[in-house]
Symmetry: C2
Subunit: 83 residues, 2 copies
DNA sequence: AAATAATCGGTTGTATATAACCGATTATTT
DNA sequence: AAATAATCGGTTATATACAACCGATTATTT
């Protein structure tokens, strides 16, 4: 049995991913453009959107900017969504 | 000539470090305790405080919690300090 | 229906985070 | 002044981020 339960991202990563996705959908952004604006490959952005890849602070800044929101806005009250 | 100019952390890392330090000083927190609460070695916390080490989102959450602030508060308007 | 774009889960290789630890130095407490 | 704690810049080893890319599948556009 392939026991590849490797989906153990911190919950904050998962919730952040959902928020990024909501912004993209809500503002009808195009992922390819968001990725380009953030200076990353769209396939890699997708991993952040799906929550399968955690990011560092520098990347959070790049992505939040390309989404047109501040990091603070992106993370507002996220602690409530995590517990 | 030892040309080790390796201090090229993203500016956001540097500014975040200053903010963490300000909170610790302002609230007269003890680094050793902050580190313990965050579940990290105090020497490693120091690197975040000095801005010599970038962190991932999960670590940001741990440290912000041990500082007694939310990530959103910690990052408020940080874009203005970076530019 | 065919063409095109988006999505998905994956890969490799390099850079970097993280945990744990260290000795020397500086700062604070006794 | 001596003892103790904090700071600093460093280390090693392992885990993981990131860039770049991929083929197959799904979704959308033509």
């Amino acid at each position: 049995m392939a026991k590849k339960v490797k989906n153990s991202r911190p919950k904050v990563v998962i919730v952040l991913a959902k928020r990024i996705k909501q912004i993209i959908i809500g503002q009808q952004l195009v992922q390819k453009n968001v990725a380009h604006d953030a200076g990353i490959d769209v396939e890699n952005l997708r991993k952040y959107i799906k929550g399968t890849q955690e990011m560092k602070i520098g990347m959070l800044l790049r992505i939040s900017k390309s989404l047109g929101v501040t990091m603070s806005e992106l993370l507002r009250d996220i602690e409530k969504d995590i517990e």
